[in-house]
């Protein structure tokens, strides 16, 4: 096997995406048809789905960073051995986590549902990644482009928020449910912000390289947007806990900070026409197509996020499927689109194997259907959430009555979920094949 651990990260990431989507489909079918596939019940399929998708985001963004950082700065990576060690720890811990889920051994926390002991190798692997990243990055010119700042920020805040997410193990935190919930969602809000830094940094990097315009990553506006994103990562998390009886100032500060995203929204709309004209020009480039799609999904999800951050609206949407729409819309529409662009770009660069015309056709069909099914999926969750929010607050119906009412919409959600899964299969199957041929061909 060739010593290309960057490609191993990316390929394993794509396989995790397929696995995560597969368990997502099973979980959604179990949601509407209780009793479906009883041998792997919902309380196992949900964490399998979530953890594999989180693994996809990390593996593919890390693989990209390991490749882009040295190769596009004409420097050597600080240590390839540490990179391989990082991959080995990720793989080994990942297998242990999956075994725990299948055996029903849980830590029982959202996102990190594995036993807490497995957090140790994950933490160590990120220290290794951070060490390798900074030792390599400091060899480059001192005036880093914005994406290098974003990757550095993502690594630093992952370590911070991952540690914060385990404060519940300490006696000072575990004795109070309000304190614990508040800290848990403070950590998770920033954690999502940290992986967004890795992913959005990758998007800016790709845009710069595809457009061959190094100004994109060095402009003043790019840095202003980065700092605005950083402020939101740090202080904008509390819309998750508006209805938890915690200090009022925490909620109102988050509300204020979240509204600063209106500036990002205004910028997107202002640039819309210009970027649309440019996108038509380069739309035949495969990775670029995915970046354009992610732009549209950013706009849709940003509008939704802004609405959810208004406390008066949040009272109706919190704990409903609208929150799921936002999570799925961001994870698939934004993160996955960008990371698929990165995987296609990276696999092309490393393997230098061309796709056949029928393979390109399949990927393009997958792309079109992914966006169509994702839109149906997203809208159905918003409709289900709107009905649930109204029925909880205004009509005060019971949980069972509400679920019966929204079940037909959830069936649409499940079917479109199958469509999303098949579309992702169509997009990823040939890049995976290319990677495996390259890795295992002597």
């Amino acid at each position: 096997m060739k010593n290309k651990f960057e490609l191993l990260f990316t390929t394993l990431g794509l396989l995790s995406l397929i696995g995560g989507m597969f368990f997502g489909v099973i979980a959604s079918l179990q949601f509407v048809y209780p009793g479906f596939l009883e041998s792997i019940p919902f309380y196992k399929t949900r964490p399998l789905h979530v953890s594999l998708i989180v693994a996809w985001i990390f593996l593919s963004s890390i693989g990209g960073i390991y490749y882009y950082l040295p190769n596009y700065n004409n420097i050597k990576l600080h240590s390839r051995f540490l990179g391989i060690l990082h991959f080995s720890i990720f793989l080994f811990t990942g297998i242990l986590i999956l075994i725990c889920y299948f055996l029903g051994e849980f830590g029982g926390r959202e996102y990190w549902e594995f036993p807490p002991i497995l957090a140790i190798p994950i933490f160590v692997s990120w220290i290794i990644f951070g060490w390798n990243y900074f030792k390599t990055a400091f060899k480059t010119a001192s005036n880093w482009p914005v994406y290098m700042w974003m990757w550095a920020t993502g690594i630093f805040f992952f370590l911070f928020t991952f540690s914060e997410a385990y404060l519940w193990l300490l006696p000072q935190f575990k004795g109070n449910v309000i304190k614990e919930l508040t800290l848990q969602w403070k950590a998770y809000g920033a954690l999502v912000g940290s992986w967004n830094m890795l992913v959005y940094g990758t998007a800016i990097f790709l845009m710069e390289k595809i457009k061959k315009n190094s100004h994109i990553g060095r402009s003043k506006i790019a840095f202003l947007m980065y700092f605005l994103g950083l402020i939101n990562l740090m202080f904008g998390w509390a819309h998750h806990i508006y209805n938890v009886p915690t200090a009022m100032w925490i909620r109102y500060l988050a509300y204020l900070v979240s509204m600063s995203e209106l500036i990002i929204l205004a910028k997107i709309i202002y640039n819309w026409k210009k970027s649309l004209t440019e996108s038509v020009k380069d739309f035949n480039i495969l990775p670029y197509k995915f970046l354009v799609a992610s732009d549209i999904w950013i706009l849709l999800n940003l509008i939704l996020a802004l609405l959810l951050s208004v406390p008066a609206i949040n009272m109706y949407t919190h704990g409903t499927h609208i929150t799921v729409a936002h999570a799925m819309g961001s994870t698939i529409g934004i993160n996955t689109m960008i990371l698929l662009a990165s995987c296609l770009f990276l696999i092309d660069k490393i393997t230098k194997i061309e796709y056949t015309s029928s393979e390109i056709k399949t990927i393009k069909y997958g792309y079109t259907f992914l966006n169509i099914f994702l839109l149906i999926f997203w809208v159905s969750l918003i409709i289900a959430g709107t009905i649930k929010g109204q029925d909880v607050i205004n009509n005060q119906l019971s949980f069972q009555e509400i679920m019966t009412k929204i079940n037909p919409i959830l069936i649409v959600f499940s079917i479109s979920g199958i469509g999303v899964f098949l579309s992702i299969l169509a997009i990823t199957i040939y890049p995976i094949k290319k990677s495996l041929i390259f890795l295992f061909n002597k």
């Binding site: 309380y43 508040t182 003043k220 806990i241 938890v244 200090a247 704990g319 909880v392």
Partner: protein, 137 residues
């Protein structure tokens, strides 16, 4: 934007974030609301052991398969026996986990303390002009 300016902004934000985090840690809980007894803390670990959060919510946070359990103990028509019956028998959507009686009692204790900590979902509130809400007691 010079490198120095970027570094100053970054470290200014980072230091504010660290101070802010300490304030958050210190400012909760208010009036000890949400304090868990020793048994409830053990019950919370049981709640995690069976991954209850995959299907249920506390304060609207968690899964969507089953109902929010924040006030399952102090809602009219529900309560301890209701919870025990569900856990022991399971339903069409919820498997019978065959949880030992001792663990069921710890779970009940945990959910009792959660119920005392607040209300979810909040249905009685007034909307203010700035988009904030005033929750009626």
């Amino acid at each position: 934007m010079s490198r120095k300016t970027k570094q100053i902004i970054f470290f200014a934000l980072l230091s504010q974030f660290l101070i802010y985090s300490l304030f958050v840690y210190k400012s909760i809980p208010i009036n000890n609301v949400g304090t868990l007894s020793v048994n409830s803390q053990k019950g919370k670990l049981i709640f995690q052991k069976y991954n209850c959060i995959a299907c249920h919510q506390l304060y609207g946070l968690g899964g969507y398969m089953g109902p929010d359990l924040t006030n399952v103990m102090n809602t009219k028509g529900k309560g301890k026996d209701y919870v025990r019956a569900f856990i022991t028998s399971g339903t069409a959507k919820m498997p019978n986990f065959h949880i030992p009686q001792e663990e069921i009692e710890l779970l009940v204790s945990y959910l009792e303390d959660v119920s005392k900590s607040g209300v979810s979902p909040t249905v009685d509130f007034d909307i203010n002009k700035d988009g904030t809400v005033t929750i009626n007691k």
